[in-house]
């Protein structure tokens, strides 16, 4: 049941417990209780809004940074990851398999701001071996949503 509720909420955080209950044919109290429990258990972390900032006319610069680090004895990558993710400029941090260790998404107001964050804050951290910065030029699709204006409904308005 949790999986079904989560599937619906992941796509639309504004669905009410009542709507979800109807859609899944479940008692509304039970759905409300489950949602509250999942919020408590930090399964549901936040109700997020996906925004096309470019369309909103706001400048936004983001970069994906490949970070190579030297893992620490007993602490592995977790310690260095936590030193990185504490910066508010850092929007997400992933531990990766392959040619580098951490993938860090950094967001800022300008190219300069992001670049100086990398050179002054990130690259200078102890245990950080190297960084490679890739600026994001255009967002085509994020979280399953295509950013380009979607075609209108192409169906005939009325058909038997």
């Amino acid at each position: 049941m949790r999986k079904k509720i989560l599937d619906l909420l992941e796509n639309n955080g504004r669905l009410t417990a009542k709507e979800i209950a109807i859609m899944l044919a479940l008692p509304v109290d039970q759905v409300a209780k489950e949602i509250a429990a999942m919020e408590q258990e930090k399964i549901v972390l936040r109700y997020h809004t996906l925004i096309n900032w470019e369309k909103a006319g706001e400048e936004e610069v983001a970069a994906l940074i490949d970070v190579k680090v030297i893992p620490q004895r007993d602490l592995g990558f977790d310690e260095i990851a936590s030193r990185i993710y504490r910066y508010p400029e850092v929007k997400s941090v992933f531990l990766m398999s392959g040619g580098y260790d951490l993938s860090v998404l950094v967001q800022g107001k300008s190219l300069k701001e992001v670049a100086s964050f990398v050179s002054q804050k990130l690259a200078t951290l102890e245990h950080v071996q190297s960084t490679m910065t890739h600026f994001i030029l255009k967002r085509y699709k994020q979280d399953g949503v295509i950013f380009e204006d979607q075609e209108d409904d192409r169906r005939q308005a009325l058909q038997p």
Binding site: I22, A157, L158
Partner: protein, 404 residues
């Protein structure tokens, strides 16, 4: 001998065609098309676009040069895949080389079947409300349509008692379309068994239009052909439009007794030749790796179905809970309006388009068809608007009653 007074096209048109009624919703369609900001629940097809891997398969087949005619029967691989599907889904065994024909949508398949078996004056039993084409194509094939009304108190199912009441010595064919457009009704195994007994007793042939078979919300899909003794008596018609969101591709198929198939393919080869190869390639991909897409779409239709059903009841419309397809067919009796007036005034006042039940036969009077193949946001907004509209009519009626 009469002397011609110039060319008059209408004189050349046969009375049968002349007398076919034009589509019952033509005028209403124009009204909808000319109104801005309409949310349409009047659409008879999925709101999903064909899954990308299916479209991609078609593009790839074009790149590889698949642009020719196929066998009259359709691509052998596709017929094989259809036979496998029918075996997996319904436990039916068909010889893909002799018993399956790929058509231009299920519509052509129904037409072929009727043209193959009807003699002038043969009666065709058609449970109504139903899809709009059965009556006209019966007439074009020289048959006589005999509508059998189904009612909300029977969950819009065809009961054996009702069917038997309409059977005459001239009855030859029974058309079944369950899950049903426009009511969303389905037939249970027991209901089908009762019908099968009459089919045997009166030596009828069944054309079973199972285009909505996959879209079922109360249990497993069921084919009439899978009932004991019914496979040889059933011309099974289906296609890819609804289950795989492939309406515009126009690919359907028919599975039947080899004698029926051999006869039908004659008409098909002289009139159509073959279904377009591009669509057939896409259909092959759909059957080979589209199962997850069907399940994903069915789950979403089911969720929307429950939401719309609950909203319609809340606003005070009496309604049968649909069990298949993607339509819901509420009664508008509580508003005191007939189907056409309800649809027209709802469009004018709240810009929501629905189809009057009368478009699907006389027994659809007093009902409207809403399709829930629409986004959740559109459905919610459409229900809000319809709720306002219904509330106004209900208060108006109460005042009228109070004054009397």
């Amino acid at each position: 001998m009469t002397i011609a007074h110039g060319f008059e096209a209408h004189r050349f048109i046969t009375p049968v065609v002349k007398n076919l009624p034009p589509s019952g919703i033509r005028r209403f369609f124009e009204l909808v098309a000319s109104t801005r900001g309409v949310i349409s629940l009047g659409v008879g097809e999925p709101d999903f676009v064909t899954p990308w891997h299916i479209r991609e398969a078609c593009v790839q087949s074009l790149e590889r040069g698949y642009t020719m005619y196929t066998s009259n029967y359709g691509l052998p691989e596709l017929r094989g895949a259809i036979a496998d599907y029918l075996a997996w889904r319904f436990g039916l065994t068909y010889d893909p080389m002799k018993q399956i024909l790929v058509t231009i949508g299920a519509s052509e398949a129904v037409d072929l079947a009727l043209r193959t078996v009807l003699n002038p004056g043969d009666e065709v039993l058609i449970p109504e409300p139903c899809y709009v084409s059965y009556q006209p194509i019966t007439k074009l094939a020289g048959g006589v349509p005999v509508p059998i009304p189904t009612v909300m108190t029977d969950n819009f199912a065809l009961t054996a008692a009702r069917l038997e009441h309409y059977i005459t010595p001239r009855s030859k064919v029974l058309i079944l379309c369950f899950p049903n457009n426009p009511t969303g009704a389905v037939l249970s195994r027991e209901e089908m068994q009762a019908i099968a007994r009459l089919v045997e007793k009166y030596n009828l042939l069944v054309i079973s239009d199972e285009i909505y078979a996959e879209l079922r919300y109360d249990g497993q899909p069921l084919s009439f052909a899978s009932l004991p003794g019914m496979q040889e008596r059933t011309i099974l018609v289906s296609g890819f439009s609804k289950a795989f969101a492939m309406t515009g591709w126009r690919v359907g198929y028919v599975a039947a007794h080899p004698d029926f198939l051999a006869a039908m393919v004659k008409i098909h080869q002289y009139t159509i030749l073959c279904a377009p190869v591009m669509g057939q390639m896409a259909a092959l991909e759909a059957l080979r790796s589209g199962r997850q897409d069907v399940e994903r779409m069915v789950e979403q239709y089911d969720q929307r179905r429950r939401l719309v059903y609950s909203r319609l009841l809340e606003m005070g419309l009496d309604c049968f809970e649909p069990r298949g397809a993607f339509y819901i067919f509420p009664s508008v009796a509580a508003t005191g309006l007939d189907s056409a007036t309800f649809a027209e005034e709802l469009l004018k006042e709240e810009k929501v388009a629905v189809v009057p039940g009368t478009a699907f036969g006389a027994s659809g009077e007093g009902f409207i068809r809403c399709s829930y193949a629409a986004s959740l946001a559109d459905l919610t907004e459409a229900m809000n608007r319809m709720e306002r509209f219904v509330a106004r009519r209900l208060t108006f009626n109460q005042r009228a009653v109070a004054q009397v």
